[in-house]
Subunit: 163 residues, 2 copies
Amino acid sequence: MSVTDELLANAERYAESFDKGDLPLPPAKRVAVVACMDARLNPYGVLGLSEGDAHVIRNAGGVITAGERRSLAISQRLLGTLEIILIHHTDCGMLTFTDDAFKGAVQEETGIKPDWSAEAFSDLDEDVRQSIARIKADPFIPHTDQIRGFVYEVETGRLREVK
Amino acid sequence: MSVTDELLANAERYAESFDKGDLPLPPAKRVAVVACMDARLNPYGVLGLSEGDAHVIRNAGGVITAGERRSLAISQRLLGTLEIILIHHTDCGMLTFTDDAFKGAVQEETGIKPDWSAEAFSDLDEDVRQSIARIKADPFIPHTDQIRGFVYEVETGRLREVK
């Protein structure tokens, strides 16, 4: 039995007790969260989110690239969100390599150099500020006055705001 | 008080009862989930995931673009995941517009035409299959024999596999 099969058994149980079939499409709290994909960071647990509350956008690092700006533009323009919460975290995998090293290793193995940036970073707080700056500079995201960035501490479960 | 402030109060409570400070960086279940950012779709609830279990990657539509391929390459190459679960869902916002219409509306308002695809789609099952095909065609994602795609039904809470 694969892990996927095991998780599908959980999904059966979720459906059996499901009672949220009439939630509207737009997020109730009008907020979009952008967080790292890290397994230890559970935005639902940390922020106390329930089904229907918020858009959750995630990727390796919780970085802001063209794809995240696309998602945020759709979130705000079509579905009415107004606030943005960014979450990076301690002990992040993105701190453990450089773009050059990662892309070099991939090229070594596959014979092809990735045509994207790995988006590695060496300073968590600085990358949170960088992410905020990228959103504020985007011409397609209308609401950028309520963006706040945080570092989640995987050791303590705390969320620390980046100023 | 902003919604963000309200969610930060939840984060304080999460930290107070936190007891998962020694989880390892690599996901325990060696699986990566790619899902839509939709507020009604809670991958933790549906799949029964806990902190430490799985990478969770999300965007508008749960589509596969360059950014998601970057995240999956990092997930598998650096952090050991082997299986991929894709989740689209019924009543998705991406079904309600076309790329041309969305980009035209943005251009009308901002004077600038977005230099990205909105990644709208008109057929859920077909876009799930498209996403699987994009991953399998990627030269940088090593493990592509355990990819399965699903449509989450927001009306019933059920996960339906796309064949």
